[in-house]
Symmetry: C3
Subunit: 211 residues, 3 copies
């Protein structure tokens, strides 16, 4: 039952990530296959990068449901494009759920393989954010999540919640739920109140020449 | 003898892929080394990605012939730039041969390592197409093969031919040849008759803001 | 003592690479986290790619000092932006030291794992240059080091110095020092005297169409 609930959340998150990739592809007039490809990279790119770094077989090569969920997302955008726009806020919530869940899945998997907590927190962040970075690189845009909003930072803060929750002896399931909810809340609050990190000031770009 | 023939096709495909990368680099005025680098990534990027996902040592680290073929491709473009343009159709055919062969090599290697058929078909597609995607990302363009023409789709259809051919009991060599030829024919027919997948309609790009 | 000296050089190189990434991010108005992310990818991207190809755990997952050095680089750019510009030549020297050191670290690690010399030379080049390529891709620019200056070529020439030094029986430490110094000198001389490889002539970009 618990597993089923997490699986549903996992698919919701995958669906939301795939939708965001497919929408980016649509904005550049990709064909259907290209849109599917970008959607898939957005949905599984983070977890794949994590698994390559951890030295294990990428998760989506073990069971095909992520490919299927991405396919449904493609059909949804093709068939109900207008709805997608109207459901903007719903997808934002799904995306936040996905970020939270992917983060915790990444942390758990890394700890299970015997790495220390600081590696796990980074892997959680990678799981949640690298897909979005790859999406933006593939449609030839500067990665959005590196320029504004609390996004990767929400994943890292969720990882710190995970750490302290474990540290004070909270059991595993509660720790995971607390961490997921933290990420979602931080995302929602940051967007609601336009909270972001300071931007870098523009200094002349790096030059290899001597002055 | 059979092996020799396949090796020649493999080098032809590598040569064609490298040429397409070097030409992209030339259009952006890269220096000779940069052009070699882009040519190499185009030629070996797909197989390298496949091998990283499969957890084996990238194929070009085991024998250096792919580096040599790419070097010859560079000299060819530098020395015979005009010919390359005149030989456009020849290179298109080499590229189609490369796509077909790389696809089947990817499928075979994946099956040999014990993965199921659906993973093998995806790995065949990755072997044939990721090099071209990396090429376009490195020269700062939206990946061409994700926007138009049947390209990745040809690799997937070739994988499905492979599957059904094996399913009905055709022997291994014939299955491989049938699959390679399918990919080449699909590519040639698609380009000849301007057959492509439908394009996505432009809906407003994804926004993380609530409406 | 020797180890300490090399460690200091390693951190100087990491610092210089991180600074160059953070400056690129600043020029695109990334937020602080985005700048840290780009700085980190620039500093560790090459070694990470090498380790993934070699099939070992990425080096920065084993000890966190590279994350700390990148953090210091971020604080430095935020706090002393003007100094960074004034110190342009100093950072160019640090960057050259980093390139030399990363190259030799890459070569050593590859040989230790039992690969042949030609693979080691390529891995040295990858260690020294892929971080800069990823930096440019992430800020949506055509990779600088593929277009001008002797950069990747300096890493390869350093690898060739390594090879011949070993070949004529020079001991391991001297070989490594000779190789690092070669890379640094080649970089400095190439930039000082504006020495570069020839550029590719522009021929029409690759077309998948027949003529």
């Amino acid at each position: 039952m618990e597993l089923t609930f997490i699986t549903i959340l996992d698919y919701l998150g995958t669906f939301a990530f795939a939708i965001s990739g497919i929408r980016s592809a649509a904005s550049k007039k990709f064909d259907w296959f290209g849109a599917y490809f970008i959607g898939l990279v957005t949905a599984i790119g983070g977890g794949t990068t994590r698994d390559v770094f951890l030295g294990v077989t990428p998760f989506w090569m073990i069971q095909p449901s992520y490919l299927v969920v991405t396919g449904i997302a493609l059909l949804f955008v093709i068939g109900f494009g207008k709805w997608v726009v109207k459901l903007n806020y719903t997808f934002f919530i799904f995306d936040a759920i996905g970020l939270g869940l992917f983060t915790v899945v990444g942390i758990d998997k890394t700890l299970t393989l015997g790495f220390p907590m600081w590696v796990a927190i980074i892997m959680g962040m990678i799981t949640g954010t690298v897909g979005g970075v790859l999406r933006d690189v593939l449609v030839n845009q500067v990665p959005l999540i590196l320029r504004k909003d609390i996004y990767a930072m929400a994943a890292i803060l969720g990882g710190i919640v995970y750490y302290f929750s474990m540290k004070i002896g909270v059991n595993s399931i509660t720790t995971q739920i607390a961490s997921v909810i933290s990420v979602i809340l931080i995302r929602v609050i940051a967007v609601q109140f336009h909270i972001g990190l300071p931007l870098m000031r523009d200094i002349p770009p790096n030059s290899k020449k001597k002055t």
